[in-house]
C-alpha cells in the first residue's frame, strides 16, 4: 500500500468534535413525555443563566440510571413507580419519602412530585360519563352488567391490573363483554363506540384527542407513577440554587397540562422546545432549521463512523497481520473480536457507560470494537489466501520482512482487505444510529425522536441520510479500490 494513500485514510473522518463547555447535563428518556420534561428542565435551568447540555432521547431506564450514577448526566425526569421497581427493586416502596431514603445510599435523590401521576387509569367517553353520572371507578358498579370493556394484555396480566382492581372495587363485569386487545386498538374501539371503557396511561395524548374522561381512583388502587426529578446528591450540593429552581416546578404540572403537552407533540407535531417554552411562559428558543439539524447530525455521524473506521484500520490490519504470523495469539485475536460481535449493541453500550460515561465516548468505543472483526478477519484471510511462493520468492530476492509485508503481502491481500474495511464502514454507519441512545447524537437522534413521536417524517430525516451515507461509502470504496488495489490484481477482483 502506498504511503500517500494511507494519508488519505488517515484524513478521513477528521471532523472537529463539537462539545461546548456545558455546566449541567440534563437527560431524558426515549418517549414523548421524557423529551418534554427534559426540555422543561433544560429551559428552566437556562433561565438561571447556566449553560445546559441536553442528552434527551436516551435508551432505557438502565442507561439513564448508569449515566446519572457515573456523572455523565446530572438530572433527568423519571417516575416513582419506575424507580421503586426497576432501579431499587422494592415495588413495596410507595411514598416519595421512602423512595428518596432508599436512593440515598446510592448517592441519588429525587424532588417532590411535579404534580402528575402517569399511571393506569380507566377512561370512558365524556358523553357516556355524563349520561351515567360517572366520576370514579366505583361508579361503574351501577352499570357493570352491561358495560363493554377493552383492556390491554398487560393490564389484564398484571397483578396490580385488572384482577386486583375488580376485587378492590367489588366489581363484576360480564366476562363476555371484556375484550383483550392491543393497546392502540382499544383507542379505536372506544372511538367507534364499540366499547365503553378502556385502560389508558393517565397522561396519554389520545385522551384529549378522543375527548375521553378518566375515572378517579378513589381507593388509590393503581401504583403511583409520580413524575419527579432524579439527581445525584453531589450535583444537588454543588448546584444548590439551580436545584432549587428545578424544585420550583414541584406540583406545577397537572395531569391535564401534561396530557395537553403530549398531545401538542404527538398530534399537533410541535417541537419539544416550543412546547416547553409555552408551558414555562418564556420565549420560544429559536429552533434549528431542518437543514442545519441534518447537517449537525451528519457531522456527528461522520465523526462516529470516521473515528471507528480509522481505529479499525490502524488496529485491525496489524492485528490481522499478527494473527497470521503468531498462530496462538492469532486465534485469540480472531476469537475475541468475534466474541465482541456477539454482544448485542445495546448491552455493550450499557456495559460501557460506567467506564466511559454517556455521549460520544462510549458510542465510539462500541463502534470501534464492532468494526474490528471484519477488518481483522479479512486481513487474516486475505494474507492466508496469498500463494506462499510469492513470499518465499520475495525473500529469495532479498526483501526484508517489512518490505515483504509492504511490497508484496499487503498489496496482494488488498482486495480482501479493502472489502473488510468496506464492510466495517457500512456496518458502522448502521450501528452508529444506536449511539443516540447514549446521547452521542448522529442520525440516530433524529430517528429516535421520530420514533418517540410516532412521526415518520422525522424518522426519515435520520433514516434517509443514513442510507445515503451508506451509498456514498459504497461509492467511496469503489474509488479507493482504484487507488489501493494494484492494477495487476483488479482484473480478478
Amino acid at each position: 500500500m502506498r504511503p500517500w494513500a494511507c494519508t488519505v485514510l488517515l484524513l478521513f473522518g477528521l471532523f472537529p468534535m463539537s462539545s461546548g463547555a456545558a455546566n449541567i447535563v440534563v437527560g431524558g428518556k426515549i418517549f414523548t413525555e421524557g423529551y418534554i420534561l427534559g426540555e422543561i428542565a433544560a429551559q428552566t435551568l437556562e433561565a438561571t443563566h447556566v449553560s445546559v447540555s441536553r442528552k434527551l432521547g436516551m435508551g432505557s431506564t438502565g442507561i439513564l440510571f448508569e449515566a446519572l450514577k457515573s456523572g455523565a448526566i446530572d438530572v433527568y425526569p423519571d417516575y416513582s413507580g419506575t424507580l421503586a421497581e426497576a432501579i431499587l427493586k422494592q415495588p413495596n416502596l410507595k411514598s416519595l419519602d421512602e423512595i428518596r431514603q432508599a436512593l440515598s445510599p446510592l448517592g441519588l435523590t429525587i424532588s417532590g412530585s411535579l404534580g402528575f401521576n402517569d399511571t393506569y387509569a380507566l377512561a370512558v367517553r365524556d358523553e357516556f360519563a355524563q349520561k351515567h353520572g360517572l366520576q370514579s371507578i366505583g361508579d361503574l358498579i351501577a352499570i357493570e352488567s352491561t358495560l363493554k370493556a377493552a383492556f390491554s394484555y398487560e393490564f389484564m396480566g398484571r397483578q396490580d391490573g385488572f384482577a386486583g382492581m375488580m376485587g378492590n372495587y367489588h366489581l363484576t363485569f360480564n366476562p363476555q363483554n371484556v375484550n383483550r386487545m392491543e393497546h392502540s386498538l382499544s383507542f379505536q374501539a372506544i372511538e367507534k363506540n364499540a366499547v365503553d371503557v378502556i385502560d389508558v396511561y393517565s397522561t396519554d395524548a389520545k385522551i384529549k384527542k378522543l375527548n375521553l374522561r378518566l375515572l378517579r381512583d378513589d381507593h388509590n388502587y393503581f401504583p403511583q407513577y409520580q413524575a419527579v426529578w432524579v439527581a445525584r446528591q453531589s450535583f444537588v450540593e454543588k448546584h444548590a440554587s439551580e436545584w432549587q429552581t428545578l424544585l420550583g416546578l414541584e406540583g406545577k404540572i397537572s395531569e391535564r397540562a401534561m396530557r395537553d403537552m403530549n398531545a401538542m407533540a404527538d398530534i399537533q407535531k410541535f417541537s419539544f422546545e416550543k412546547i416547553a417554552a409555552q408551558f414555562l411562559g418564556s420565549d420560544v428558543p429559536k429552533s434549528e432549521s431542518l437543514t442545519n439539524k441534518v447537517l449537525r447530525r451528519t457531522r456527528e455521524h461522520l465523526w462516529l463512523v470516521g473515528v471507528s473506521l480509522l481505529f479499525s484500520v490502524l488496529v485491525g490490519i496489524p492485528s490481522g497481520v499478527a494473527a497470521v504470523r503468531f498462530r496462538a495469539a492469532g486465534q485469540a485475536i480472531l476469537l475475541s473480536s468475534a466474541l465482541i460481535q456477539t454482544v448485542p449493541s445495546l448491552a455493550l453500550l450499557c456495559f460501557l457507560i460506567p467506564v466511559f460515561g454517556v455521549g460520544t465516548q462510549p458510542a465510539l468505543v462500541a463502534l470501534c470494537l464492532y468494526s474490528l472483526l471484519p477488518v481483522v478477519l479479512n486481513t487474516f484471510t486475505g494474507i492466508r489466501s496469498i500463494n506462499p511462493i510469492h513470499m518465499e520468492n520475495a525473500r529469495a530476492f532479498g526483501l526484508n520482512r517489512w518490505q515483504v509485508l509492504v511490497r508484496v503481502v499487503l498489496p496482494l491481500a488488498s482486495p480482501t482487505l479493502l472489502a473488510g474495511i468496506k464492510t466495517a464502514t457500512i456496518v458502522s454507519i448502521g450501528t452508529a444510529t444506536l449511539a443516540a441512545l447514549v446521547g452521542a447524537g448522529g442520525y440516530g437522534a433524529l430517528i429516535v425522536s421520530g420514533l418517540a413521536l410516532n412521526d415518520v417524517p422525522t424518522v426519515l430525516t435520520g433514516a434517509i441520510p443514513a442510507a445515503l451515507m451508506a451509498l456514498a461509502a459504497h461509492g467511496m470504496f469503489e474509488l479507493l479500490a482504484i487507488i489501493f488495489i494494484p492494477a495487476g490484481l483488479r482484473r480478478r477482483s
Binding site: 511462493i389 510469492h390 518465499e392 520468492n393 520475495a394 525473500r395 529469495a396 530476492f397 532479498g398 526483501l399 526484508n400 518490505q403 511490497r407 508484496v408 498489496p411 496482494l412 488488498s414 494494484p486 492494477a487 495487476g488 490484481l489 482484473r491
Partner: protein, 248 residues
C-alpha cells in the same frame, strides 16, 4: 564460481541431502537434474539461503553463504523461479526494478539498466508495461530473467524455466536462453527434470537421486560411463519418438 561442498540436510530425522558436492566454474552453465523427491528443490532453497543446512558450505567466488545476511546473499544470486514467479500486482518493469528501487538506486540508473537488459533478452518495450496476466509464458520468463540479472549477480539460478511452456515455445526459448546465458556471461545453475533440456543448455550435468549425487559429468560421460544403473535408467526413461523407419 558457485561451490557447494559436503552439504547435509535432514528434515525431522529424515536425510534429505547427503554429502552433496557441486561446483560450477565461473561462466559455465550447469544443470542439476533429478525427479521429484530427489532433493533438488531443497538444494535450490539452500543455495538461495532460504533454509539452513546441517553441514558443509556454500560459496560464491570463495565467499561463504554463512558470512552474509540473507539480503546481502540475495544480490549475489539472481533467481528465476518456476513459471517466472513474477509478482502479479506489479507491471513487468516494476517487477524488474523492484529490488533496485529498494536498494535506493537512482531513477536514471534503473532506467539504463532495465533498457540494457531488455535489449539483452530481446523483449519489446510495450511488454514491460504489461502486468503478468497479460504476458505469454515466454515473455514472463524473459522478464523474470531480467529481474534476476538486475543487480548484476555473480550466479544465476533457474528453477524449471521451461516447465510450463508448450513444446514449440519451449524449443525457441531454449535456443534463446542459450544465447542469453552467453551474452550475460554468468555462472548459471539450471534445475530441471528434463534431460533433453539439460543436455541442450548445460555443459555439465549433476544427477541427484534420493538426496545423493549419482553422477556429475557431461552427457557423454553419463551415457557411456554411468556411475550406477539408475543413471542409465533415467536416461532411458526419456522417451524418444519413433523415427519414420519404424512405420515401414
Amino acid at each position: 564460481m558457485l561451490e557447494l561442498q559436503h552439504i547435509f540436510k535432514t528434515f525431522e530425522d529424515r536425510a534429505v541431502l547427503c554429502d552433496v558436492n557441486l561446483v560450477v566454474p565461473k561462466g559455465a552453465t550447469h544443470a542439476l537434474i533429478g525427479s521429484s523427491g530427489s532433493g533438488k528443490t531443497t538444494l535450490l532453497r539452500i543455495t538461495l539461503g532460504l533454509i539452513p543446512f546441517d553441514k558443509g558450505y556454500v560459496k560464491i567466488n570463495d565467499q561463504a553463504l554463512l558470512s552474509f545476511t540473507q539480503i546481502e546473499w540475495a544480490d549475489r544470486i539472481g533467481y528465476v523461479p518456476q513459471d517466472g514467479g513474477l509478482f502479479p500486482h506489479l507491471s513487468g518493469k516494476n517487477n524488474v526494478a523492484l529490488i533496485a528501487k529498494l536498494r535506493g538506486w537512482k531513477r536514471t540508473r534503473i532506467e539504463d539498466r532495465v533498457e540494457q537488459l531488455r535489449t539483452l533478452v530481446d523483449l519489446g518495450e510495450e511488454i514491460l508495461a504489461r502486468f503478468p496476466y497479460e504476458m505469454s509464458g515466454g515473455q514472463k520468463q524473459r522478464v523474470s530473467i531480467m529481474r534476476a540479472a538486475m543487480m548484476n549477480p555473480d550466479v544465476m539460478l533457474l528453477d524449471e524455466p521451461m516447465a510450463a511452456l508448450d513444446p514449440l515455445i519451449r524449443r525457441s526459448l531454449q535456443q534463446e536462453l542459450k544465447s542469453i546465458f552467453k551474452r550475460l556471461d554468468k555462472t548459471v545453475l539450471l534445475v530441471t527434470h528434463d534431460l533433453g533440456e539439460a543436455v541442450y543448455l548445460a555443459e555439465h550435468i549433476t544427477m541427484l537421486h534420493g538426496g545423493r549425487i549419482m553422477q556429475t559429468g557431461t552427457y557423454r560421460d553419463l551415457l557411456l560411463n554411468p556411475a550406477s544403473p539408475f543413471v542409465t535408467e533415467f536416461i532411458n526413461a526419456q522417451r524418444t519418438l519413433p523415427d519414420a523407419s519404424e512405420f515401414h
